[in-house]
């Protein structure tokens, strides 16, 4: 295939580098941008540059932020005695949406996975250890419920246990509004394992 415009070709190339975007979609996006008013294209391109220039990692929790420390770490109303450890920044967003958690976060930047070349050194573990002090009451481990997440949970809990504060993990189990009979066996058995005393 031959492009009649080198600029369009370059834009298609750039779009198709993005996750989930193939050549066809990339071409459609590029042609759409060609038809957009000049001001909107300018604001789109500014958004792209801004994200790279302004966004950095919070020096305390390693979450993405524009102001260091981030708005969660610097919010005096948050409960400073609890830290919830998650894998990625979008996990923070998910937990924030619940409006139920008022403590602080720590973003590891992934989970242990040698196949992806991720070892303990590549996660923000040292940064987590640096945050531990005598007033900290609890660390909640909220990793994804897969092999890598579980192994990371195991690893962190062994590392943190000797330090004296309470270590907990989020429960694995049944979605709200579902029926027991429709739950898959693995989920149900995990839910049984993690049952709570009343």
């Amino acid at each position: 295939m031959q492009y009649t415009s080198a600029s369009v070709e370059q834009l298609v190339e750039e779009f198709s580098q993005l996750p989930g975007i193939g050549k066809k979609t990339a071409l459609r996006l590029a042609l759409y941008i060609l038809k957009m008013p000049r001001e909107r294209v300018a604001s789109f391109s500014a958004a792209l540059t801004n994200v790279k220039e302004k966004v950095r990692y919070c020096s305390i929790c390693s979450n993405i932020t524009e102001n260091d420390p981030c708005i969660i770490c610097s919010n005096p109303k948050r409960n400073r005695f609890v830290i919830c450890v998650v894998e990625e920044p979008n996990d923070v967003l998910a937990l924030e949406k619940t409006n139920e958690y008022s403590g602080l976060y720590h973003v590891l930047g992934g989970a242990l996975s040698p196949l992806d070349n991720v070892g303990p050194e590549d996660l923000k573990v040292k940064e987590l250890l640096a945050r531990i002090n005598d007033s900290l009451e609890e660390i909640i481990l909220a990793m994804n419920p897969n092999v890598e997440g579980e192994t990371t949970t195991m690893y962190l809990s062994r590392l943190l246990k000797p330090m004296g504060m309470k270590i907990s993990r989020i429960a694995r189990g049944l979605p709200i509004g579902s029926d027991l009979e429709f739950a898959d066996e693995a989920t149900l058995s995990r839910a049984l394992e993690g049952r709570v005393a009343l």
Binding site: L112, S113, P114, V147, M154, R158, D184, E185, A186
Partner: protein, 385 residues
């Protein structure tokens, strides 16, 4: 469960085949290469979502066609009928599975729902082959009755791959750096916890399974040969051990093998290296037994699997017997057929009716289906051909 009917389209040499089945025995008769086993394979697609021997679906599509399609009606034990459809599109290399109108996306949710017990020439590796073949056999049997086990086994396999990645890097560098050591430690712990679960489950399974094997053997063999199945895990274990005790032993053995692991670049301790020992009258089957004894042992294992699954699944399994008579003597063949077809619906392939001798009376519950050149034909057509 019973299979009431099946329709095959573009399925190997079956272009358009429709079959109705009887509730007890269905003998598929025909010469070599006419398409008898292909019918069993189609039934395997209906009940397990996949073939019992083809590694990829593409080879199942008839030459020159771009899809195959299998439909069937299953009659469940409590009386309801279910229609199943499996279709494979070669253009996108995708297999789809429907129960009624509903598409089932996670194939593993079907495992154990429509249980079948298959005895085919490929199974001879269970007694003749490597420990991996025997582990596969018991893993499949446990999986059909416990979905949690499937999950645990998959997690173990993933953990093993993760841990081996670190070890293979170390083997390449011929040393375990401090960073590698820090990486290895959590995966060792993960391997130990997940592996111990598998070991305990297998130990428990083999303890429960052993009496089924003895009973099955007694039913098909007259002279009292005594079969035994024993779990020989690398990490010594009894079903009554606590998980913590097995984990401790596991940890210690890994510690001892650490240097070797770094040399070979792979995990050397765990359920992925277990053996399941089969013996007859106290002698190792692999070393001491004849072809016929191997075959009889295999049949015994399969009948044991049937009873084990029957008690644990909600459905009575269906037997698919592919070419089972080849290494058995006449009395054993006759007893086998008579015994099995009394237990459950049975599909048996054979090149000639004579192998059944008087074991089967052809009636409302038992039929002969003649297959020639990928299509069912009448008995008269068969004789005149």
């Amino acid at each position: 469960m019973k299979i009431a009917s099946a329709q095959l389209r573009n399925f190997r040499n079956h272009t358009e085949t429709e079959l109705e089945f009887k509730t007890a025995a269905n003998a598929l008769l025909g010469e070599n290469g006419q398409g008898k086993t292909n019918v069993l394979e189609a039934l395997s697609y209906l009940c397990l979502t996949k073939s019992f021997y083809a590694a990829n679906d593409g080879t199942v599509v008839q030459q020159g066609k771009d899809f195959f399609d299998v439909r069937g009606t299953l009659l469940l034990d409590h009386g309801t009928e279910q229609t199943i459809r499996v279709s494979y599109d070669a253009a996108v290399n995708r297999r789809r599975y429907f129960v009624g109108e509903k598409e089932i996306v996670t194939f593993s949710s079907v495992i154990g729902k429509y249980p079948i017990v298959i005895l085919s020439p490929e199974n001879s590796s269970i007694t003749f082959g490597t420990p991996a073949d025997r582990r596969k056999f018991i893993d499949l049997t446990i999986s059909q009755s416990s979905k949690v086990y499937i999950d645990d086994a998959l997690e173990y396999r993933r953990t093993l791959r993760q841990r081996n990645k670190i070890l293979s890097e170390a083997a390449r560098k011929k040393m375990l750096t401090a960073a590698d050591k820090a990486s290895l430690e959590p995966w060792t712990e993960a391997l130990v916890t997940r592996g111990a679960k598998i070991i305990l489950k297998r130990a428990q399974f083999l303890r429960e399974f052993a009496p089924y094997v003895s009973d099955a053997y007694a039913a098909i063999v007259e002279d009292g040969e005594a079969p035994a199945t024993a779990y020989e895990p690398q990490i010594a274990c009894s079903p009554d051990d606590s998980a913590a005790a097995v984990e401790e032993r596991y940890r210690r053995m890994l510690e001892e093998k650490r240097a070797d692991e770094i040399k070979t670049g792979a995990s050397l301790v765990g359920p992925h290296r277990d053996e399941i020992a089969f013996s007859l009258n106290g002698l190792r089957l692999r070393t001491y037994s004849s072809q016929g004894q191997h075959k009889t042992f295999l049949v015994g294992l399969k009948i044991a699997e049937f009873f084990y699954l029957k008690e644990r699944c909600s459905e009575t399994p269906v037997f698919l017997l592919d070419d089972v008579f080849s290494e058995l003597d006449d009395p054993r063949s006759t007893r086998l057929v008579g015994f099995i077809e009394n237990l459950a619906q049975t599909f048996i392939t054979a090149t000639s009716e004579s192998v059944f001798r008087n074991a089967l009376q052809w009636n409302d519950e038992r039929q002969k289906i003649f297959i020639r050149n990928g299509a069912p034909v009448s008995e008269r057509e068969m004789i005149t051909a």
